[in-house]
Amino acid sequence: MSEAPHTVKSYEEELKNLNSNIIKMGGFCEEALGKAVQAITMRNSDHAESVIKDDEKIDKFETLIEQQVVNLIALRQPMAIDLRETVTALKISSDLERIGDLAKNISKRTLLLNENLPKNLVDALVRVSSDVQKQLKSILDAYLDRSSSVAMNVWESDEKTDDLTNLCMQEVIKYLKENEKNLDDGTHLLFVTKNIERIGDHTTNVAEQVYYLVTGKYLEGDRPKGTEPIVTGEK
């Protein structure tokens, strides 16, 4: 945001309110992702259930932000930085909502998993998820601080996430191959991994938005990709 406040104070407040709602929503997403990961690694089904329950909150935030954005556009006709602020808020909120959904999906699958998972598999999962968690946190900070350089860093580190995802996938495939009984858990774990990776993708989307918000420019070129995944997801 620019240094000078708006002449119209209520407009200023509406924009601040929108801003803080994004931050709050991001906080809930961070919490959901954290709990979902803990639910797997620490085998805590309470966490998983609370993630499933709390997703409703995140959905409500999305609706709220959408309404605020529509109101701002209809009533204030924002221009320049304010316009970017408003439009990116809409897009970030939909990315965050997807992150919430994915965390919920992870938690649902966690509840169906066996108690005992191989350690190296869990370690691989922890590596990728903590990476994604770190990125989500730093992009939310970047949003708060209006930092284009941090946003750029997050955007670039998606490469690393993809690599970690592939490693994790390999672990899961190994686990699948070990025993036919592992089929159910393995499939769930594949989806969990994929979901974490997609949370990473959404985080990258948010990074793009933050970059556009701050600079007014689009991050150009293809998003950096890691090694081609061995196991293809839905796409």
Partner: protein
């Protein structure tokens, strides 16, 4: 000077300074106006945008204490030269004012005045044609064709302003200057004028001064932002309104000024 590969430069202002007595109103303005484009001049009141507009057809001559320095080149001709004939300049550069100001005469006389004094019609028939085409171009013909000999002041505000536009285009100017043409009009009339501006830019170069940033954003392709007598920033309209370079421009268009 900025080069533009697509559009021809119609008007080029170089180092223009304007003084009202001892007070300097414009500081070293350099601005190129592209042909067949709508250029919007925005800025807070008293920023000099109207003054600049009135330099372009030398309407500032009317004000005794006003002095214009620098070059304003139109068609390779500096209009601030001593040899420039103001009457012919104003034939080429029409103007529409803030308040609709039709002559208190009939509609027909309002339109025919310019062609008459410039001797553009040889016969009554030719004049009738000029009146009709001007009114049609101003999208007013259908509304007034049955009452051409009624006073122009009897029209609604929006119709009056379109009459003034018709009057301006009756002498086929190359450039039309508009000084806040919609500030006295309701939104529907404003929309009609804006649509008209869009049509007119096919044949004329239009420069519009406006207080409504939304209007500048809607009608123009290029925008210049004036502040305290200086041209702070100019460029394509979407750039100015989405991502201006200058913080002053941004503060002004987002409503954070002062």
């Amino acid at each position: 000077m900025r080069k533009n590969g697509v559009n021809m430069i119609k008007i080029s202002a170089k180092n223009v300074d304007v003084f009202y007595g001892k007070k300097q109103a414009l500081f070293n303005i350099n601005l190129d106006i592209e042909e067949n484009q709508v250029t919007a001049l925005i800025g807070p009141s008293g920023c000099g945008k109207s003054t600049f507009l009135r330099c372009l057809n030398r309407m500032n001559d009317v004000i005794d204490i006003c002095k214009v320095q620098g070059e304003i080149v139109i068609n390779d001709f500096n209009i601030n030269d001593k040899g420039c004939d103001v009457v012919r300049l104003r034939e080429k550069i029409g103007m529409v004012f803030q308040k609709p100001n039709p002559f208190p005469k009939t509609l027909y006389e309002n339109i025919s005045y310019g062609p008459t004094i410039h001797g553009m019609a040889q016969s009554k028939q030719e004049m009738d044609e000029i009146v009709e085409t001007s009114l049609k171009k101003a999208a007013l013909w259908e509304e007034v064709k049955d009452r051409l000999h009624e006073p122009g002041t009897g029209l609604s505000g929006g119709q009056q302003q379109r009459l003034c536009i018709a009057r301006a285009i009756s002498v086929q100017p190359e450039v039309i200057l508009m000084d806040e043409p919609c500030s006295a009009l309701d939104p529907i009339a404003t929309a009609q004028i804006e649509e008209l501006i869009d049509e007119l830019k096919k044949e004329h170069t239009i420069i519009i001064v406006t207080h409504s940033m939304a209007q500048a954003a809607r009608v123009s392709q290029r925008t210049g932002f004036f502040h305290l007598g200086e041209l702070i920033e100019h460029g394509s309209t979407d750039k100015i309104f989405k991502n201006p370079d200058n913080i002053k421009t941004q503060d002004y268009i987002t409503g954070r000024f002062g």
